[in-house]
Amino acid sequence: MGRLLRSRPFEPATARSFPTQMLKRVALFAIVALYTAFAAGPFVWVATMSVRTTSEISLDHYAWPAKWHWEKFAQAWFNSNYNVYFENSLLVVASAVAVLTVVGSMAAHCFARYRFPANRVLYFVIFSTIIFPPQITIIALFQILVQYGLYDSLVGLALVYVAVQLPLTVYVLESFFARIPGDLFDAARIDGYSEWLIFWKVSLPIALPAIATAVILNTILLWNEFLYAVVLITDESRRTLPLGIQRFMGDQLEDVGMIATGLMIAIVPVVLIYMFFSEKLIQGMTAGAVK
């Protein structure tokens, strides 16, 4: 079982001189540190600003918070409607992701496990829409929602979100479903399970990791979604979080402190998910890009 040890890059015997090694490592380190500051810096900055009042910020934009004004979060939440935006986002995203998971896994299971003439064609039809620019559907979606009275409603938005994320969901799940060994299905059939039960009791439980990945992925992408929301929602009381934040940009004439707090409210759920599920999330978002 020495093979197991070989999956890491090996450390061969080297005879390189110490100084050049040192120099290379220092240079590498410097680049890494610089880039980390570059990537993470903006967020740290926003985080500090979120707990400082706007007047404090105006004095010095880059100072470390002297006093941590945690009450700003409460202010943003209750006084600036962030609670409404947050709730709306939560509702829309949760329902859309739930529907997506069920509908997507049903389709993925079918594509992966049944051989029928139209299988590949239908799969391609759904999968190819990943390339479509949203512009091709957005105007018509607007018209359709207006026509059916779903314009400016969370229900309408959620439905649109389901359609938008369906191709990706089916794609992520299909490859996983396909890898489940067929013997399990054969055994279940012999035991007399109906096709639906096989889906519920065999496919879904085994595919839980992929489903979890799809759920996390969809949650984050839809939580951050802006274009469809801005087109299909206008009423203040139904805005999702991205819309709510955007409103403040023009609205409060650069109440930088409050906006920063609002940004943090939007960022925190994502960061939490990321902290707990970083591996899954990274894998999910990058799946399929690796060939």
Binding site: M1, G2, F10, P12, A13, T14, A15
Partner: protein, 353 residues
């Protein structure tokens, strides 16, 4: 060709409690075909990789042609290796795969051309030079991997279980090819395998390893006939040596309910009696034991019969001739060739006689 010396060579991985390779002493002579044999995880591959320079050496000395090479990078050791998975460059043609090492060493292109074509001819790859690895069969890929090593004309050839990924028929053929290759090139070759048939047929000498340590070094027949302990006795040969517990009683060795006329001479009272299946005859005069037939496995050229000796827990395997007149359930006399038998100390598992 060159000689390779290992002195107390050790490798300890950072997270492991026990060393993967523990103080290995080994001398490989000029032009010798040395086989490192042992079960999975015994440290043979790690040892090979240390010789190649792909693993750093924790302790001990490694010398090639008398020069210490512990800190010499792999590429400067003038060593070529054939990997178990062939490790061909997937994006290069066969020609480029063979030529790559030479190009990296700034050989003249005429020289490269000559060498590659020579080797391709020898290995029957001439028609495949423009193909990429994905278009080759397993056996062809193996030959390209071999060719890549030969073309370098190195001091030492290293093989890391190169035949394990081939199917049985191909394996037998390649074994012959490698033996012929060794005779022709006369190069020093170190070969790692867990297959004792390969070891026996190909090696000038075999170094048997277990648990990171060297157990025995010797020529194939020497190791076969005179195993140093029960591990070697049980590892070489298929079916393996029968190892039965015995106790001396006056002038007999009692195994179960059977007694063998063996003199006790400076040996402990309890011993392990070892005898190879081919050294037991069914029937014969002067039967040493009676065995009840449990199973008869006809192999075509011979038959393996499984016996139960009364009073003995383990089954005894016996190699019989093509047809054996024994049926399951019969009780049959067995004769042991006592000159080829061994006694092992049950405490140390070492051979005593």
């Amino acid at each position: 060709m060159a000689k390779v010396s290992l002195r107390r060579l050790s490798k300890r991985f950072p997270s492991a409690s026990a060393p993967a390779v523990d103080a290995v002493d080994l001398d490989v002579a000029h032009g010798e075909f040395m086989v490192l044999l042992g079960p999975s995880g015994c440290g043979k591959s790690t040892t090979l990789r240390m010789i190649a320079g792909l693993e750093s050496i924790t302790a001990g000395e490694l010398a090639i042609d008398g020069q210490r090479v512990n800190d010499v990078p792999a590429k400067d050791r003038d060593i070529a290796m054939v990997f178990q998975s062939y490790a061909l460059y997937p994006h290069m043609t066969v020609f480029d795969n063979l030529a790559f090492g030479l190009r990296r060493r700034n050989f003249r292109s005429t020289e490269i051309e000559r060498r590659v074509r020579d080797v391709a001819d020898t290995l029957g790859l001439s028609a495949l030079l423009a193909r990429k690895p994905y278009a080759l069969s397993g056996g062809q890929r193996q030959r390209v991997a071999l060719g890549r090593a030969i073309v370098r004309d190195p001091k030492v050839f290293l093989f890391d279980e190169p035949l394990s990924n081939l199917d049985a028929a191909l394996r037998v053929g390649m074994r012959g090819e490698l033996i012929k290759l060794h005779h022709r090139l006369g190069a020093t070759m170190i070969y790692v395998t867990h297959d004792q048939v390969e070891a026996m047929t190909m090696g000038d000498r075999i170094c048997i390893m277990n648990g990171g340590k060297v157990v025995q070094i010797g020529g194939p027949l020497d190791v076969y006939r005179d195993p140093v302990d029960t591990f070697v006795a049980g590892f070489l040969g298929s079916p393996p040596t029968n190892l039965l517990p015995g106790k001396f009683d006056a002038d007999r060795l009692v195994i179960g309910d059977n007694g063998l006329p063996i003199e006790r001479r400076d040996v402990p009272e309890n011993v392990i009696f070892g005898i190879r299946p081919e050294d037991v005859t069914i029937g014969g005069d002067g039967a040493h034991a009676r065995g009840e037939v449990l199973a008869v496995e006809p192999l075509g050229a011979e038959t393996i019969v499984r016996f139960r000796l009364s009073g003995v827990v383990q089954d005894v395997l016996v190699r019989g001739p093509r047809t054996v007149a024994a049926r399951v359930g019969e009780s049959v006399p067995l004769t042991f060739d006592l000159r080829s038998a061994h006694l092992f100390d049950p405490a140390t598992l070492h051979r005593i006689v």
